[in-house]
């Protein structure tokens, strides 16, 4: 079908098409095909349907019940109205809730943030030498409170002590994620000073502090080493001399993170103290010796150096 006029249905006048067909053999053949097509379509249109099929269809329909108008059910008719009413109620409820509760105080009371004292030693710290976990760091410290009695009145509320070491540890943790180098510049000199103030292999007396058997932790020791430290819960079986290794603190120097391990010896003895109105047993940390050990250097990823910090 190379002639372009074959694709132009009824676009050209009849006389032009006839003139073209006189010269184009392909269009003459196509015209004959078109005539066949038209005759065939006319024949198809005039084809009759068999009477038997029509009769059987009428017979089948006569046995069926007459069709009725399908009335929509009550639920279908009321569905749009119910949906609209529900949506309106939901909007009104949301608006009312917002107006009534906007600016109201929260329903729950936020618990008092409790932070443990810094110089506490975990129970298993003497065995593995790991620093206390975050769970331990948030334990509650209560000072010695006498048992409630009729004479003393109600039991006073526990005193919460937040140590500088815990704050410093939190600050350091945030600083690691934000800007490690900037924080190290502030922290490292302080730690170096603290280490320098501790002469090695020399016992240092910290005096003694008193604790009741209810005490879970002890206050911070004035060694300036910050985190770690004593976490003594004096139990009867712990009375006596004990030697533990404490990861006392963390430091950052340049691109290195340094763990400083300290060896501490302390003695816990039990004594009776006269506390009015009745005597009470307390535990006393008598003498403590602090011996710095070799610092452990843990290089930060990708910035390893071999030199020591202190």
């Amino acid at each position: 079908m190379g002639c372009n006029r074959l694709t132009q249905f009824s676009k050209t006048p009849k006389w032009a098409a006839a003139w073209h067909r006189q010269r184009c053999a392909e269009c003459r053949v196509a015209a004959r095909a078109d005539q066949m097509l038209e005759r065939g379509v006319t024949a198809l249109r005039g084809e009759d349907a068999p009477a038997a099929g029509l009769a059987s269809t009428l017979a089948a329909l006569s046995e069926m019940p007459l069709p009725g108008v399908e009335a929509p059910s009550r639920a279908v008719r009321w569905a749009p109205r119910l949906a609209a009413a529900g949506a309106a109620c939901a909007v009104v409820a949301l608006m009312a809730g917002y107006v009534l509760n906007n600016g109201a105080p929260p329903l729950h009371v936020q618990p008092l943030q409790v932070q443990p004292p810094p110089d506490r030693i975990a129970k298993d710290e003497g065995r593995n030498g790991h620093p206390p976990s975050d769970h331990d760091a948030h334990s509650v410290k209560t000072k010695a409170n006498p048992a409630p009695s009729v004479v003393n009145g109600p039991k006073p509320k526990p005193v919460v002590v937040a140590s500088d070491a815990v704050k410093e540890r939190k600050t350091l943790r945030h600083a690691r994620s934000n800007n490690l180098r900037r924080h190290s510049a502030k922290v490292t000199p302080k730690r170096e000073t603290a280490i320098a103030a501790l002469p090695p292999d020399v016992d240092k007396s910290f005096g003694y502090r008193e604790y009741t058997p209810d005490a879970k932790t002890v206050p911070s020791q004035p060694d300036g080493l910050g985190g770690g430290g004593f976490g003594v819960r004096p139990l009867p079986e712990q009375v006596g001399e004990k030697h533990v290794t404490v990861v006392a603190s963390y430091g950052v120097d340049g691109n290195r993170q340094v763990k400083l391990a300290l060896s501490r010896r302390y003695v816990i003895r039990e004594q009776s103290v006269e506390v009015q109105p009745s005597p009470q047993h307390v535990y006393v940390i008598d003498r403590v010796s602090v011996t710095p050990r070799e610092p452990q250097v843990a290089s930060l990823p990708g910035r390893a150096k071999e030199s020591q910090v202190w």
């Binding site: 015209a31 097509l37 005759r39 099929g53 089948a60 069926m64």
Partner: protein, 192 residues
């Protein structure tokens, strides 16, 4: 409007109106299904199923559509279901046996149906609906569920393909039989 009145009378319980509706539309639906299936028995069966389905759903007929288009749509669904179940695809022999009279137009009809059988299903349905059933392009589009432009495109391709087929095969046969068969249809000019 006439169809709407007829449907209204049927829904009000007029049984004669129902018979009249079936008698009026049965031949067209049957003719289309016979051309699609190529089988008289299958076309009768599908036509009966079409009218039974239409009878059941007559209450839900909406007024905006033509009754003829609606019936064709139901017939088309019946045909597609039958096509999916049966997968029968040989209408030529039965088609030849349908037209026993050897007039010129009957011969052209046989040749046309033979050529139609070589078209794709979509082009054949579209061509039959537009040219044989004499539906408009929007009505064909409504029956087949395709856009108007698709219907026009299919019609163009179907005409071109049929012309090619008739030029290649049909003219030889008609040349041999033209002297012996009287012409009953004096069509002039190209097929539009």
């Amino acid at each position: 409007l006439r169809d709407e009145g007829l449907v209204g009378r049927i829904l009000r319980g007029d049984k004669a109106a129902g018979e009249r509706l079936v008698s009026e539309h049965y031949p067209r639906v049957y003719r289309w299904l016979r051309h699609l299936t190529g089988s008289v028995d299958t076309a009768e069966e599908l036509t009966q199923q079409t009218f039974i389905k239409a009878w059941q759903c007559l209450g839900g007929l909406r007024a905006e559509g033509s009754l003829s288009v609606w019936l064709h749509r139901i017939a088309y669904h019946q045909y597609t279901h039958w096509l999916r179940d049966r997968k029968v695809d040989c209408p030529l022999e039965e088609t030849s046996a349908v037209s026993p009279d050897r007039t010129m137009s009957a011969l052209d009809a046989i040749l046309l149906e033979r050529a139609l059988a070589q078209l794709s299903e979509d082009h054949r349905q579209t061509f039959l609906l537009y040219h044989v059933q004499e539906l408009s392009v929007p009505e064909v589009a409504g029956v087949l569920g395709v856009p108007d432009g698709t219907v026009k495109s299919r019609l163009f391709v179907a005409r071109q393909r049929l012309r090619e087929l008739l030029m290649d095969d049909g003219l030889k046969e008609t040349d041999e039989t033209r002297e012996n068969v009287p012409s009953s249809c004096g069509a002039e000019g190209g097929f539009r």
